[in-house]
Symmetry: C2
């Protein structure tokens, strides 16, 4: 298997992943932001348009296809606050595998319902028990573990987004990526730096779940508590620390990790809907929020890509965010 | 020029248009509908992701690039309730041309504002005066007229959507397209029938603006009054009759034109946002409404594509549609 202990995920691993998952995920286009600021043209990479509404399908397909014989024989298990859960459930349904998903009890009901609708078995636990319970189930039943981010095959799968961005935009000054467990940015940064070494790859996190920003600043991979990270509206970015495998990729390939406020995230969701006609969940709007509100901190001149990582949110939440002034919808 | 009086727009005209506009419009992907009904897999063609939020950019680029010398020398003029207006204004800005846009006074303020922001001159008139006033301005100032739909170059430009659909989906049972002036469905039907003759191409209209359905049923191109067509929430489909050039294409290549109710249109908007993460304006959700609520009337078994023609709507309108039960947002 690629990316064994201590070795880095490579551009070759990502190219192999792209071949493996071709035709199984949407080849998302770059969507231009029509009211970009002069000197900073912006494109969105709308992974929200994947059939489960998030990029997670790429890593899940790559990881499960790499372990297909075992997965067929024993089934798969994972733990996730939502989008990775849907991804594993989707892949299991497509490949006709048995799947068990451990979900923390604070996950949005919408995401839990969708996992059940895809036919996976759901086990609800307290946030701090999510990975231990999944590993227990794997040990007990022989399920193949498909981790949400701390896994070389997952990182390589998410990295296919970086391949596509570099293929679609010749002159690329910067790429903005949300950071949670780090699988997405770890993969994208690896691909982008291999193909376009001068491009700045910048991670973006909510201020209220800024463990990766702190880790990046101090050079030490730190953990925050669930009590801290669960404060943000960006429910996909509440992971309490970056994974070990993604962390190695981040240290080598990422240029900076910056943070945005909750209001800036809401503004990003609203303007993605109004100005780019994309439904983004708060986590998916975090990079765009950095483009809108942290231009000087980003220090990018030229073409920018903001990854819109997902679009799974309840419609009443979206309505409150996009039309806050409508009577009765505030808060 | 292609498509002179009485001759049909051809697949060659559409191929030439595709070459002419390549790189100037978004090559939109087919986005799978994840909760499609068994036996009727559905994909969206999200033209809402064009930088002006609608397919109209294709026809406008093709028409203006075909007449570029005149357009440069004299400027361009058009009349439109919204999306074509934005398209011409966008193309004029990109190609550094002077543009004048005649807009009926019932057009949404949002669409009018966007035309002004693109630097075009706006002339507001009563709905019934829109085309006469535009022709007067053309005669008076020598502006090149870029009609919204009754023009071979416009039809060929919109037809590039059909080329892309046929290229992306090998086995194509049906394509659902909104009908207003007919440029979109006229172009798409021409391309699809040339490349995949067995595919059913079906137009969809609001019941409240069903002039094309009546024309199709009777074989006579009829007009409705603005008082009738302006009742529908689908503000992009209020044109009172299909254009002469599109009508010839429709008679030859379209299999049926059916209608949907206002509630069905709202349901389409809501489910596009919730289930496919696409912001669609009511007009853009009309074909999906037919898929959801008129399956037997469509009579399609196999792969279906619903064209999402645009995504320009006010955020308070979107909020009311997607979360009708939220306190204070009903109506």
């Amino acid at each position: 298997m690629t990316g064994a202990s201590g070795t880095l995920v490579t551009i070759e691993d990502i190219r192999a992943a792209a071949e493996r998952i071709a035709g199984r995920v949407v080849r998302t286009p770059l969507v231009p932001y029509p009211v970009a600021e002069p000197g900073r043209p912006l494109w969105f990479k709308p992974e929200s348009l994947q059939p489960i509404g998030a990029f997670k399908l790429r890593g899940a397909f790559n990881a499960i296809l790499q372990r297909l014989d075992d997965a067929r024989a024993h089934g798969v298990v994972t733990h996730s606050s939502g989008n990775h859960a849907q991804a594993v459930a989707w892949v299991a349904r497509e490949l006709d595998l048995q799947a068990t998903i451990v979900i923390p009890d604070a996950a949005p009901a919408l995401k839990v319902d969708r996992v059940r609708q895809l036919g996976a078995e759901v086990v609800i636990v307290a946030p701090e028990d999510r990975d231990t319970r999944a590993f227990e189930l794997a040990a007990e039943h022989g399920y193949v573990m498909i981790p949400p981010y701390d896994d070389a095959a997952i990182v390589a799968g998410q990295g296919t987004i970086g391949l596509e961005i570099a293929a679609d935009l010749a002159s690329l000054a910067g790429v903005l990526v949300p950071v949670s467990g780090g699988g997405l940015i770890g993969g994208i940064a690896t691909a982008v730096k291999a193909l376009s070494p001068g491009t700045r790859v910048i991670g973006v996190e909510p201020e209220l779940a800024a463990d990766a920003a702190e880790s990046f600043r101090t050079g030490q991979r730190v953990s925050w508590t669930p009590e801290q990270t669960y404060r943000t509206i960006a429910d996909g970015l509440r992971t309490t620390s970056v994974g070990e495998i993604p962390w190695r990729q981040i240290q080598k390939y990422v240029d900076d990790v910056i943070t945005v406020s909750e209001d800036e995230i809401r503004d990003g969701v609203r303007r993605l809907a109004a100005e780019a006609r994309l439904v983004a969940e708060p986590s998916g709007a975090v990079p765009f929020a950095a483009y809108l509100h942290h231009a000087s901190e980003l220090g990018i001149e030229g073409n920018v890509v903001a990854v819109v990582s997902g679009g799974n949110l309840a419609m009443d939440t979206l309505a409150r965010i996009i039309a806050p002034a409508a009577p009765g919808t505030a808060g």
